[in-house]
Symmetry: C2
Subunit: 289 residues, 2 copies
């Protein structure tokens, strides 16, 4: 069952991060790094491990790249939850890092998690060929940085003070940066590790990433805050344009379903071996959290 495999991969990734941070002491910043990387779905890390399996790369090796993307994702959540950003108190059903400790610690936890990602990718255990590790570093730096995820965050902030809400094209571009870039990196990572062409996985992940975001907007309206473990209906309260506000609930659901089909189609060449990735695509729109 997909949820079990997702949970197994999350446990593998958490163990990798635990081992890495094991000798780092117990200052709040290190405790915060451990705390912020625990308890998530680890969907991005799962995509790394699943696309690695598709290319016969062992999980023992791929788990470092999976841990790296989860470290970056966790850093982005810790900073995004700060009072000066989204000001969220709850994440994965637990107090956010700045609530559990303080804002200064949350800033530092995020900063150190970003460094940790690049430390993990440059570890020889990640791949024996330095050129492959460097390819992972270079692509993650681009995906996470000021032309990738951070640009998406900045576009999101700019939209809040804009005179009118974003249109469909602008919000699609924003989301491709804000959430899409890391999801694409995750799905391509297995191909990079396996020395294979990553084009089909990129197309899969681009469709998946957008479906994921539309599903997030639907959950924000329809979801159960207790199950989600975070505050919901924030976007409506903030008057922000979302795929639901732009398309309506039914059309948003139809769009997400069409994107899942698009993601499936991109996997055609992999045959039955890509069944796990197909399940991931179905999961992304069916999830309740």
């Amino acid at each position: 069952m997909f949820e079990h495999r997702l949970r197994d991969d999350a446990a593998l990734i958490e163990a990798c991060l635990e081992a890495r941070l094991g000798g780092w002491g117990s200052l709040p910043v290190v405790e915060g790094m451990r705390y912020a990387t625990r308890g998530g779905k680890a969907l991005r890390g799962h995509l790394v491990l699943e696309t690695a399996r598709l290319h016969d790369v062992s999980s023992e090796r791929a788990v470092l790249a999976a841990a790296a993307i989860e470290a970056v994702h966790a850093y982005s959540l810790v900073h995004d939850d700060l009072p000066c950003m989204d000001d969220d108190d709850l994440r994965r059903g637990q107090p956010t890092v700045h609530v559990r400790w303080d804002e200064a610690t949350a800033v530092l936890v995020g900063d150190a998690l970003q460094s940790l990602a690049f430390e993990l990718l440059s570890d020889p255990a990640c791949h024996p060929d330095p050129a492959v590790r460097l390819d992972l570093v270079a692509s993650l730096a681009r995906a996470a940085g000021g032309q990738g995820m951070v640009l998406g965050q900045a576009q999101d902030i700019a939209a809040e003070s804009a005179d009118e809400p974003l249109g469909l094209e602008a919000i699609t571009a924003l989301q491709a940066n804000k959430t899409g870039a890391l999801i694409v990196w995750s799905a391509e990572a297995g191909a990079r590790l396996g020395g294979a062409e990553s084009g089909p996985l990129r197309r899969y992940a681009q469709a998946l990433g957008l479906a994921f975001q539309i599903a997030d907007d639907i959950l924000d309206v329809e979801g159960d805050a207790a199950a989600a473990g975070k505050r919901l209906q924030k976007d409506a309260a903030a008057g922000k344009a979302t795929f639901v506000s732009l398309l309506g609930l039914e059309e948003a659901k139809a769009r997400a379903a069409a994107l899942v089909n698009e993601a499936m189609a991109a996997l055609a060449g992999y045959g039955a071996r890509a069944e796990g990735l197909r399940e991931a695509a179905r999961f992304v729109v069916a999830r309740r959290t």
Copy 2:
């Protein structure tokens, strides 16, 4: 003259960063990245370029590593100046990023500058051998992260709420992380780029880094805020232990001078070619800003 060469190197580094960010648009986060990397002394970047020259590595190549360390240094200042950290309004004689824009932008500017550093180091223009670029990435990730600079920041924060002020040993260890790690990385970078043994440069930089911090503590007491372009006497106001509070002003000056001699001694094997690095060591304790 040393100050001229420092200024020339700073201009080279700023041009490299300008070129890199040229096509990135004009959202506040990108403007903030440009703003935060301008107008500094670029001492760390200078150490990269100077140790590269010592190993016959062209500045055209080494400037990418120099720009990377200045990007990390700038990110650390932007986050350190945040209201939840040191709450500083002035940096390099200009309003800090969160004052000029806002806190959310300052968080994102720092985040994107860290990513940019790893993007620069993984660029083939930095060095043709992927293994060398990867060595720079791995060592910078360690130097900047939760066992390096960020650990030093966290130790600094922990000291503020400790029952008694830090002793000399603890503050020396703290500073070796907080400011020493990046200075050591900078001085070693030239040897890494040149494929040479970096031991002597590491010893040089360890002494230099500590001398730099003692000089900073002396400047905090004796300096001119207008010339420094930042708020001074913060440490005394906060009741924090510094090298001056622990050693007294005269002993602190003697200790800094002894460390400069130690740094010089580490360079003995390089002969006359290391004169620039000797001047850098003298500059670090003689500077007024």
